[in-house]
């Protein structure tokens, strides 16, 4: 079993709803963006194309972030998800230098959205985030444990995201990758990301 995700760039309309729902689901503090949507332009006038590309931790099968972590705070679940145990993290940020996808965030100090004021949502949500450690997307592991899909998948209004088992040849994700030519970002680095993109 290896969890993975397929993002269909033809269907993605760049609404950034996934980035917003990720923030809500995980109550990430200001400046911590486990998911972001990048707009990419290509071509020359009048043949110009604008594509929205959602980016998050790729849950690499060979994660360089895990290899360099000196404490074992970064670990891999048997289902392939790369996770961080905040209690073990020393905040050395070596993993941030090792991640070729720049998908790790360091929370240097506790921060709130409204200076000097913490909303009830923040009071509840920020208990999940420690200052002085690194964090990133965990494919919504708590939701998966409850039998739910990651929040970004469940809430994508254009159904651009598909989640499933990459090791299962007949899973929806495997079929999409096979049939539509799914590709990984920077495959030459040998990280073998678990997020595939379908061409726009």
């Amino acid at each position: 079993m290896r969890y993975g995700m397929v993002i269909d760039l033809k269907k993605c309309i760049g609404c950034t709803g996934c980035a917003l729902v990720c923030k809500t689901e995980n109550a990430t503090p200001p400046g911590i963006l486990w998911l972001r949507v990048v707009k990419q332009e290509s071509g020359k006038y009048p043949q110009v194309r604008r594509v929205s590309v959602p980016l998050q931790c790729m849950h690499c099968a060979e994660p360089p972030c895990l290899e360099v972590c000196p404490t074992g705070a970064t670990f891999q679940h048997p289902n392939g998800i790369v996770d961080i145990d905040a209690e073990q993290c020393v905040g050395c940020r070596y993993c941030m230098m090792a991640c070729p996808y720049d998908q790790r965030f360091f929370l240097s100090a506790e921060r709130t959205y409204f200076p000097g004021h913490t909303t009830p949502f923040e009071q509840a949500g920020y208990q999940r985030h420690q200052a002085g450690v690194v964090s990133k997307c965990n494919f919504c592991t708590p939701r998966l444990n409850r039998g739910l899909e990651p929040a970004c998948v469940a809430n994508c209004m254009s159904r651009a995201r598909t989640f499933g088992d990459l090791d299962e040849p007949n899973s929806e994700v495997s079929k999409l990758i096979r049939d539509r030519g799914g590709y990984q970002l920077y495959p030459e680095l040998g990280t073998n990301p678990s997020i595939y993109y379908l061409p726009p």
């Binding site: 000196p70 993290c89 020393v90 230098m97 991640c99 240097s108």
Partner: protein, 296 residues
Amino acid sequence: MARTEPFQIRIADLRERYRPQREWAEGRGLLLILAHFLTGSGAGAWLFAVPLGSDPGLVIGFFLAALGAVGHLLFLGRPERFWRMATRMGSSWISRGLVGLSLFLVTAFIYLVLLFVAEHKTTLGAILLALSVLGALWTIIYKGFVWASSKGIPLWNTPLVPALYIAYALRGGAAVLILLAGLGTQLGAVEPLEPIKLWLAVSTAVLVLIYLEVMRGSGMTALRSVNLLLFGKVALPFYVGAVLFGLIVPIGIGSFAYFDHVPSGLLALVGLLSLLGDLSIIYCIARAGLYRPLPA
């Protein structure tokens, strides 16, 4: 005008095609750069002080490395958990470095205690000295590998970086002893160092040139980083610190010393500028680090 918060800068970076790494170069990241410089120069000074029999060199080498270790600790987001960093020797260069640096600091400290308050010419003293030299070598070697194993930053992700860091740590060690000599401490003891220092300065200059040339041809991100070093926001510390202070002055005065006597004041200046140059190159390479563009 309101000061821009570091995290706002970081968010602005996300709009950049080539995002700069900031965690290891700005704010508390400067402590890490200082720590790498101090531990490298301290361990280097220890390595030269042992064969030269320079007791002040041993003391300063130890204190510089100890200060560097404090810098490493203060840089961490959770310093109270530092001991956890020794648990992944199998794959992490930071783990390996922590073990090497600890070996150096502990054995060097006990050796210095024996040297100054008890008898050091014993079997125990010899074992401690040998272990401290091993720890110092380990400390010098691991640093470059920490940077070189950072797959996210193409400018660092090359085997040339460890070679550069080893050369700079040795240079730094020699510079510490030359500075001490220039300040009037055991002037005669460091005479053999002068040709070594010149050789190190010349070979590092060649290594820097090779490094920049190789990185220019290692993809767009590395090329951008080199451009930042040579023509961008890192150019000033690079040319003034790393090139002028770190290479031109030591090579110029070192060559002059072959033909004529160099006054001690000038010797001290060479040592000091050389150290500033060493610090500058570590800073410049860290500051010029860029992530690959995303999406690819």
